[in-house]
């Protein structure tokens, strides 16, 4: 089914971004963290609490709802909604925020995610989640010891290796690259650069995934603020325009996506036909990508499916240097989920907003003014020179994904 573009390109902007510290022991509630991240985003935008009249958030029973965090900040709603969801919700909620504003329901929407993803409800499933009773659709997998994200996704990567000859060493380059980027990021939890050999020598979690193929469970809250382009032009930063958005696009048979192959195909296969026509560009026009690196190989699958390389050539693409800072199309310049900290997709959108503003918060002394050295050696710069168009590739699982294209 063809989705008709509604002509909203460049009509909405992300005007504020904010996050808490990334840690493994926040020592406070998701409410406290959400308030901090939203407040930072409001101030970043140059707005007041009274200017924010919409709110969207997502969670999986592990966070605080909008009603309390908004009250903490003195925000009165014209629109709000709490959404059940994980990865790929970020881009989807940006689209829903545009829709709410377009419908005349509100003017400006703050989108947040707050979680104690390591110290309280571990995103990887260890602890409370593993102990939950098994019923309904979960009976098709969970009684077989298939519960965590890694366990749920690994057969997809295994089949890709079988079909295309993709290797562990190739996708290890995603970790290597993101660790390089994290070494330029003062916020990153893991700033140490790693090698392909480090990845391959790390212990197995669920074959074909090593420990270093997996992302990093983290405590944090994050926020982005969406408003109309007219309002954005009078705010603090240069506007970052939304060219296109696709939200929670799915493969057939979402109840059990294994039934509908090829299983090495992921949801971006469908999302690309929505987002590129909206934006009026193709993958070759994108300067910076933000993949959902829950795992190394998920980055590869997304880049393939959106056409940054041919299907089956993702292993070669991610190991070619193209995705590194200084390469043709850097990916996840903050170090993102694998190295910076796991945010359920928010931080890659925040990073791309900062890239487009030219004010990435690296180690350059005058980064906030947009003055960068473009020296990509450790502990230096991570600003991409003249980044004009970015694309985020959201992922919930192989069968569900989202995407967002922005420009400066």
């Amino acid at each position: 089914m063809v989705v008709q573009s509604r002509g909203l390109r460049d009509r909405y902007c992300i005007v504020g971004v904010g996050e808490t510290e990334y840690s493994r022991a926040s020592g406070r509630t998701t409410r406290a963290m959400a308030v901090e991240a939203i407040r930072k985003a409001i101030l970043d935008a140059g707005l007041k609490a009274a200017d924010v009249d919409g709110m969207l958030d997502y969670q999986g029973g592990d966070s605080t709802l909008a009603n309390s965090v908004a009250s903490d900040l003195g925000i009165r709603f014209n629109f709000y909604m709490d959404v059940m969801g994980g990865g790929s919700s970020t881009e989807a909620l940006v689209g829903l925020a545009m829709g709410a504003i377009e419908a005349g329901m509100c003017n400006t929407v703050a989108i947040y995610r707050s979680m104690n993803g390591y110290s309280e409800f571990r995103i990887g499933g260890t602890g409370a989640r593993a102990a939950q009773p098994v019923r309904g659709l979960d009976l098709a997998q969970v009684p077989y010891g298939m519960r965590s994200a890694g366990q749920n996704f690994a057969p997809t990567f295994m089949r890709h290796m079988y079909e295309y000859g993709t290797t562990s060493a190739q996708v290890a380059h995603v970790r290597v690259t993101h660790s390089k980027h994290a070494s330029q990021n003062p916020k990153a939890l893991l700033k140490q650069r790693v090698t392909v050999q480090d990845v391959l020598a790390s212990r197995w979690i669920v074959k074909p995934l090593h420990l270093l193929d997996c992302c990093l469970e983290t405590d944090n809250a994050t926020c982005v603020i969406v408003t109309s382009a007219e309002r954005a032009r009078n705010l603090r930063h240069r506007p970052v325009y939304i060219m296109g958005v696709a939200g929670r696009v799915s493969k057939p048979r979402l109840d059990f996506h294994w039934a509908h192959g090829p299983i090495s195909r992921v949801a971006g296969y469908y999302a690309k036909d929505i987002i590129f026509p909206q934006a009026g560009i193709g993958p070759e026009d994108v300067h910076v990508t933000g993949s959902y690196d829950a795992f190394t190989f998920t980055t590869m699958l997304q880049l393939e499916e959106y056409g940054f390389c041919k299907k089956g050539e993702g292993g070669a693409y991610v190991s070619s240097g193209i995705i590194e800072l200084g390469g043709k199309r850097p990916n996840n310049t903050s170090g993102s989920h694998l190295c910076e900290g796991y945010t359920h997709g928010m931080s890659m959108v925040i990073e791309n907003v900062r890239q487009l503003r030219g004010t990435v918060d690296d180690y350059c002394p005058r980064a906030a003014e947009g003055v960068h050295t473009y020296d990509y050696s450790p502990g230096r710069c991570r600003q991409v020179k003249d980044a004009e168009i970015t694309m985020n590739l959201g992922w919930a699982m192989p069968a569900t994904g989202s995407a967002l294209i922005m420009r400066r």
Partner: protein, 168 residues
Amino acid sequence: MPQPVQYRGMALIVPDNDSEWKEFYEHARAHRLVVRKCKACGLMRYPPTHACPWCMELGWTWHEVSGSGTIYSYEIVAHAIQPGFKEMTPYAVVLVELDEQRGQPTPDEALRVIANLVKPDFTPEAEANVAIGRRVRVVFQDLADHMALPQFGLTDEPPVGRVWRLPE
């Protein structure tokens, strides 16, 4: 039915009003692997659903399948998340493509089932024996008087297509 059924520290809950799974597990306890077959178009689907995903027909019947199939993909869990699986590591989770309805109604579709690859005593099959392309057959692990888990074991049949396992 007595609830819940305990298995490896998990509470498996299949209440009397579970209109997807209750009869599936009763058939499994009688050592029959069943799937739902559409009364209109005749296509089968798994897991149990309430309408035909191809023609939206509501009518269906349980249909017993042979339980023979081929490993389509797999994983080897080295680090168990669920406490009851820690003593089982490393264990294989296999995606089995059943012989019935392969490549129908479109070439990439098939009846596929997730389970563990086990030896006759239901302990995990040795990792060296787990590979895409190997032939398997359903076995039933009885958990209670009214419930059994379908699992899969290797057979001596020649493999289908290329046999492949993750390089060491």
